[in-house]
């Protein structure tokens, strides 16, 4: 095969030019990227801030949540709950949450299940405190990934919702949540979870648990708003999240977490 000087120059220029085009330029259309660019315009990202120093374990939040969101009051399921941590001098951590603390903590002894209680004397206590729990509205929600029918999803403002008409009740999401915030709704027979009282926050109200908390231990805010007092605390103070190692990017931030809290 022979090649003329002119042809050789033409072909080598073509190859050099082709190599110079970055790989991404050959990509004609990437819907994901378009979507990501559109997402940047979002004005709202709901987040939650829990101050465990302030929580007194009264359980008004749990009661308020159950009533507001029509969770059967006597069924042992709840969208939010309060855990009591009692660390004793011998180094053991006692954790309980009788009825999810719907009625607060009516006894000083620890509920160890099966109707049994363990009495702990005040002198034995090293530290004791309360930790409210609720859905973390993760940025990387495992419960949404496992849904086989598209019944649970994340809205543009970050809240994970369940479509009651579309949920088939398979329970994958209940197993998938590392925080155990999901449960089976005893009446609707679908997956149920905290949604930051979506009907309230979208009307400019606070969540029911925030409104019923008399101690300011719970606050809801918009992370995209730099002037939001909750955002300011999250950005400037030492906040922590639960089970960060799972990579779920939880959006409920805690003040005053210790290693005992799981």
């Amino acid at each position: 095969m022979t090649i003329s000087r002119r042809n050789f120059c033409k072909k080598s220029l073509l190859i050099a030019g082709g190599l110079a085009i970055p790989l991404s330029a050959l990509e004609l259309f990437d819907p994901k990227r378009l979507l990501a660019e559109k997402n940047d315009g979002n004005k709202t990202r709901w987040v939650f801030l829990v101050d465990t120093h302030k929580c007194v374990g009264c359980g008004f939040c749990v009661k308020g949540c159950k009533v507001e969101n029509e969770i059967p009051y006597d069924a042992n399921v709840t969208r939010t709950w309060v855990e009591r941590y009692v660390v004793t001098k011998d180094g053991t951590t006692h954790i309980d949450s009788p009825k999810g603390a719907r009625d607060g903590f009516p006894t000083s002894s620890i509920d160890i299940g099966h109707g049994k209680f363990q009495e702990i004397r005040d002198e034995e206590i090293d530290k004791a405190f309360f930790v409210p729990k609720l859905c973390n509205q993760c940025d990387n929600p495992p419960c949404v990934q496992v849904c086989p029918v598209g019944a649970t999803y994340q809205t543009a403002d970050g809240v994970v919702l369940v479509d009651r008409k579309w949920c088939i009740g398979c329970g994958y999401c209940i197993m998938g949540c590392p925080y155990g915030v999901r449960f089976f709704h005893p009446v609707h027979h679908v997956a149920e979870k905290c949604n930051f009282c979506y009907h309230r926050i979208t009307k400019g109200m606070q969540t029911a648990c925030v409104d019923t908390c008399a101690f300011g231990a719970r606050r809801v805010g918009n992370l995209k708003d730099p002037d939001d007092p909750v955002t300011k605390i999250i950005m400037t103070e030492r906040v922590n999240v639960l089970k960060e190692e799972y990579g779920t990017k939880p959006q409920v931030f805690y003040l005053g977490l210790t290693k005992e809290v799981k």
Partner: protein
Amino acid sequence: MKSHVWRPLYVVLVIIAVVLVARMIMVPDDFGIGERGYMYGWHRPSNEQEWKDVKVKYRTAEYCKECHQDKYDEMKSSPHASINCENCHGPALGHPEDPPTLAIDRSRELCARCHFRLEYAASGRGKIRGIDPKTHNPELDCVVCHWPHDPRKEGNQK
């Protein structure tokens, strides 16, 4: 080729057609990817509106204030200022139309949620004045001696 070879193909085509038609009828029109992409946003957007339409039950003290300004003012100038009316009076819902009266919780257990003394210095609970419900006037309602709207006052005020 003989027709019996083609027959199963027709059956398969009919099944595919039935599935496609059923899908067209059963899947809502607005079912789609949404703003969070395939992995997180695959849903029926009209469901967001359904959640937004849930009835608000706890109307907050600002709603109670519209009619009960005197009670609101008494409450907000007392050590109990941060407690919302509905914590003890129950959710307002559509009060005063529906329900016309609210069921007030005057039980000892309600007060004990905060005022049952627990020696938890690491939490806010340890800083609240408290009693042991077992020894502190058992059988007696707290409101007999303590006025909940302003605990500095004596009980049973109107």
